[in-house]
């Protein structure tokens, strides 16, 4: 049997109690202190603005009037009776589809080719493709505006050689969205490409070799082996291209078209900005912002429900 002196027993209980103190106790103040700094930052920059936006969406206010007029759900009703609403939502969806093609599918295929198909010049391509990511989108936009200038731009001159006339893209419905998506993708592509490339780095070369020995065509290797095996990175790139893309398109819209022609390039984010700081209708802008939140929430829900299930995680 274990025999302890009184002194040792005292020492043990003492040690126990000090050990207990290190473990967070329910109701204690210590855990709250630990999360306080982060909580403050979140509260100031996330929760307060979010709640304030919801609050504002029930009022009519132009940022100057001393009194905010409560209008109930009127701002929301206004949105749905707005003749441009369909166009704005439609544009937003077109942007999403285009950005998914340019910034998710294309970089994914590029990184597959670079990882497993070509053998020469890998470093060169990697650097060249990533380069635009470090350049400001403002600079990129100016560059594109010059290149695509319908009269004096190099693109117009090139088309002139073939007897074609360059379209005035910034005032052409439909085309304007494509061009703005390309401008935005010019910046996002490289980053997404590098992320996808690192995801594919996790696919062992031997697995690809095994498939090649079995004479599996390249597109099947891509779809049946590489995509599933790198899907945890893929899903990240997917979300990134939507979220990043939707925000980044703001820069060229604001710089070149200001949402025109006739709302032809306006997406939800630009419209929120325009309602608030163009027309000083904070209530409508807030209501739009909330709708956008719902839309993104819905997309995220669909992603979790249908896409995440098939994702393969290494560990």
């Amino acid at each position: 049997m274990l025999c302890l002196t009184k002194k040792e027993e005292n020492l043990m209980t003492k040690n126990n109690s000090s050990a207990k103190r290190l473990i967070p106790q329910k109701g204690g103040i210590r855990p709250w202190l630990f999360i306080l700094p982060a909580a403050v930052v979140f509260a100031v920059f996330m929760f307060y603005p979010l709640i304030y936006t919801i609050y504002l969406s029930f009022f009519d206010w132009n940022m100057i009037k001393p009194v905010k007029e409560f209008v109930g759900l009127q701002n929301y009703l206004d949105i749905f009776t707005d003749p441009n609403i369909g166009k704005i939502f439609g544009n937003t969806l077109i942007y999403i589809v285009l950005l998914l093609i340019f910034d998710f599918i294309a970089p994914y295929i590029f990184s597959f080719i670079l990882s497993f198909v070509i053998k020469m010049g890998k470093n060169f391509y990697r650097s060249v493709i990533f380069l635009p990511s470090v350049v400001s989108l403002v600079v990129g936009t100016m560059l594109f505006v010059w290149i695509l200038n319908p009269i004096s731009g190099p693109a117009a001159k090139l088309m002139g050689l073939f007897g074609l006339t360059a379209p005035v893209w910034s005032t052409t419905q439909g085309l304007v969205i494509v061009v703005i998506s390309i401008m935005t993708s010019w910046k996002i592509f490289g980053y997404n490409f590098i992320v996808a490339l690192s995801g594919m780095g996790g696919v062992p070369l031997e697995v690809i070799e095994a498939a090649r020995m079995d004479d599996i065509p390249l597109h099947r290797i891509f779809l049946n082996i590489v995509v599933p095996m790198s899907s945890s990175t893929g899903i990240y790139v997917l979300i990134l291209s939507i979220v990043q893309g939707m925000q980044q398109v703001f820069t060229p819209i604001n710089m070149v078209t200001q949402g025109g022609p006739d709302y032809g390039s306006t997406n939800l984010i630009y419209n929120v900005y325009n309602e608030a700081f163009g027309f000083y209708k904070t209530g409508t802008a807030s209501a739009y912002a909330i709708l956008m939140l719902v839309l993104f929430g819905l997309l995220l829900f669909l992603e979790f429900k249908y896409v995440e299930k098939g994702v393969y995680y290494e560990n």
């Binding site: 031997e206 498939a211 079995d214 004479d215 095996m229 290494e314």
Partner: protein
Amino acid sequence: MIMAGKDIIFENVKKSYDDKTTIIENLNLTIKEGERLVLLGPSGCGKSTTLRMIAGLEDITDGKLIMDGKVVNDVPSGKRGVSMVFQNYALYPHMTVEKNITYALSVHKVDKKDIKERLEQVLKILGLEEYAGRKPKELSGGQRQRVALARALVKRSDYLLLDEPLSNLDAKLRLQARKELVKIHELYGQTFIYVTHDQVEAMTVANRIALMKDGVLQMLDTPYRVYHRPANVFTATFIGSPSMNIMEAEWAGGERLLVGNQCIKLPQMWKEIVEKHGKTKLYLGIRPENLKLCPGYNADGLNAEVEYVEDYGNRYGIYIKLGELELISMADSVFAGRGEKVHFVPDYSHIHLFDRESTDSLGYPAELEEGKEESNSFMQAILNEGVKA
């Protein structure tokens, strides 16, 4: 001569990267249809590169590789009729065992009934039936190895390539898997090309061993001959554990051979070989198990002193000092302790002589060659046992 049907023929094959690092200088090798050829050698000797050239995963810098009667230098991997078991198995981690095995067949639109039959057969042979629905990460190393083998077998290709397939298994499992591999070869009869750095694996699995070093083929022969008739010093010392004792020796004319400052008398059969060769600077090789020590001094033998003794449980390794040289003898019992004088008279039916300059074997007396091939190869005995089991 038999036509080279499905033989694999390397004709002056060279492999180098960037024209700087040469992996394989000039390889000439014929792998016979249906045999088990083991490519053996230390790491970096070019054995895996050789295998990967057959697989079509490495380009051939120069020379010709002929398979199935055609030059296949530019034939892509998938069109060569080869299947391969990779060292790390290279299973598709997101697919079940069943899908792993049948994936290639279903991509190539093989008849569903046929796929099912082949799958069931291979699962049965390899004892994987109950694991068909599992993912690779839910399997042990040995099971994964068998899935990789199943995936290679189900293709029923003419050539099965195995790149150190057992190196990730523990010793006990390796022994068992080795026997299974031989059994499977007997069953399917494909040409087996097997890469390993493990000499015991090579000796037990191979019909023929191709021993390589620094991209040069050192010897290509049966396990028996590689062990008992090594073509050069490298082969002699690489195969066998502990490795062969190699002593510098000087032919002093006639029957006299000087080892250090001691002299032994070569019998007539060896005298003829040495005389024919003509050079004086030689190496004398004796395998530890053929070096039989006797107590005391003997003027006709080589006299040495015991340095220390290792106990292997079933046998003893006795290290002796012969002048400057350290030699090892394997014995069932020990009669002498450290510092004691011992001697040995070489068993002339089990010595090896090499040229010191080229390190090539001087050859063997005709008297020793007769009827040796079939007899008492213990390796072959293990092999046969494996097949029966």
